[in-house]
Symmetry: none
Subunit: 406 residues, 2 copies
Amino acid sequence: MTKVIFVVCDGLGDRPIKQLKNLTPLEAAKTPNLDKLAKSGITGLLHTVYHGIRPGSDVSHLSLFGYDTKLYYKGRGMYEALGLGMKLNKGDVAFRCNLGTIKSDGIILDRRAGRIESAEPFLKELDGTQINGVRFSIKAGVMHRSALVMSGYNLSYKVSDADPHETNVKIKKAMPLDNSKEAQFTADTLNRFIDLAQQKLKANPLNKERTKKKLLEANYLLVRGAGYVEDVPSFFDKYKMSSCCIAGAGLYKGIAKALGMDVLEVKGATGTFTTDIEAKMKAAKEALKRYDFIFVHIKGTDTAGEDGNFLEKKKFIEKIDKAIKLISDLDDTLVVVTADHSTPCELKAHSADPVPILMNGPGVRVDSTKRFGERECANGALSHIVGLDVMPEIMNLLGKAQLYGD
Amino acid sequence: MTKVIFVVCDGLGDRPIKQLKNLTPLEAAKTPNLDKLAKSGITGLLHTVYHGIRPGSDVSHLSLFGYDTKLYYKGRGMYEALGLGMKLNKGDVAFRCNLGTIKSDGIILDRRAGRIESAEPFLKELDGTQINGVRFSIKAGVMHRSALVMSGYNLSYKVSDADPHETNVKIKKAMPLDNSKEAQFTADTLNRFIDLAQQKLKANPLNKERTKKKLLEANYLLVRGAGYVEDVPSFFDKYKMSSCCIAGAGLYKGIAKALGMDVLEVKGATGTFTTDIEAKMKAAKEALKRYDFIFVHIKGTDTAGEDGNFLEKKKFIEKIDKAIKLISDLDDTLVVVTADHSTPCELKAHSADPVPILMNGPGVRVDSTKRFGERECANGALSHIVGLDVMPEIMNLLGKAQLYGD
């Protein structure tokens, strides 16, 4: 039976960049292996949620896996927490957090504390805090990232982000998003925790060291993405394929766990620029022996886009391409390479620009696309598709689509 | 007024085939007349129901004629029965059947009894059987196909197929699909009929003759597709065009009848490989005098696909092409050529791969497509459309589309 390796290069899509002779980082990069897959596959452009929708990584991944986000998306926090291996109980509310830097007047200087290497030493003294009978569990993720879980009675996920999502503005309190007592209580209790965290972070001796080294202080916890998990049909229930996830960053492991995929830990898979993509591809190849569907997530392209660093993005794409060689000559395997959204360097943020997609394997109608790029793939025979089309297209190629009608 | 000839080549779409130099049967076939229509027309790719949906021929035809199957599709059986000219009354439940071959242990050897030439001599003794006060009418269709109608009180169409839809597995009983007494009664009564049919078929002397000739016995009735007719707006109600159908196989005549199209009987139109396609095209040309919209259905492409016989499929496409010449130089006529789905030879089954479509006639924006094929048409100016787009596109070209807004 044909198996699937599904590679998502986070934030891969981009816009033409003057300094790259008006090419995108992907178009400018030397990508002989991706080009080979595109040339002997079928290609198109993918609107990962829908035309003109600028998606977060959570909703875009749910869509790519065929889950209608209008039904199944209830906030990001839970995926982050699951991804970091935290235990969650019914009634808990989970958030994702950044360690950031604020000035004494409460103006945000940097939302990532200078992309700090690890939040862990800053967060450990906050884990287990109790306020108003609510227990706060916090766990560090990759770099500045972490997840926070509130456990207790009478909590609600209807609270706004305590994060303005931009720099040079004042910090923001969490606010109730409906008129319930529970939302008010949750927002109040969370705000008290954030204040306490601010005092403890400020007093942390590690920040004195950072100041000495001319690094930005990690002195504030930016909390956002309140969420809870809905009961969703598992990936296996939907597609009757066993599946696993190979990823560095927490969110993607969390989404995989929420859908019942096994999460494989790969040494060197860090979710950063220095991640070992070849180790991931080797693990994917190995996983073909045990799984029908292997989801590989690569984060660095998004990070470079958010930094606006098009040279880094181009370089990282070339690193991906090198690793892709390891999965480019497999028998009876459908290799799909795409992205969850564009992160144009000029915007330093996610955008709705569609992303290229290639499918290479048995039965595909090989089209005339010669290279894997945003504009080459616009002429591919898949044309423009949307996120919820992807899994049906894959199931069709595998000859596993359900018949509708007779 | 511009009239329409709408040609559906069943199961026309395919996937690249190694032995055809990685071309599809349509791409490999010599089709000068279809190519001429494509070259002087507008082309695209059609997802006959929706992206990634693998459609049965019934739902795909309803979609092509602009009927939303979510509203109007209630099982295939009724179309088969109508197509064979059977009389149907309210409360009847209709099925389609195959004459198949099973072994003594109940394992299915062939679902088409070696594509038997006619089921008629086997079925006539079953017609009119009464069980539990229910009358069973059965009528042979093309080759192994037939339709079965249950008439009586307290019947339900909520019964599962008594057909596992594959070979080398055991035969299957019909089961009730809801908790009603009616569904239980219908399933029980149908199962008794199938048992009786098995006894009679086994005892039929024609099977001894078949065994002597080393042909597969026609010893089992595979019953599936329980259905009833909803009141649907007629084709004329929807489009204010008189319409007719030219087809060999029963289903398509049945769908046409259900939509209020006249069914024209054409000598030599058999729904098999030896069908007289030129006679059909001549009849279509002739019908332009009396009808606004002429639906021509050609079955052989699907049959070849289901057999996995790509050479036969290619040959049959060339036969279609030759006949197409007869309708390729008509004044004031919009000729549309497409398919109801792909039937890739590698799958021997319907698939969701989109099918090529061409529209040739007054007013079309002739595009740069030079040949009628799956990949050439992917670059056509219609781009990718879905089934429910087809009739609105046609109505627009005819200048008959309703104004929306003011």
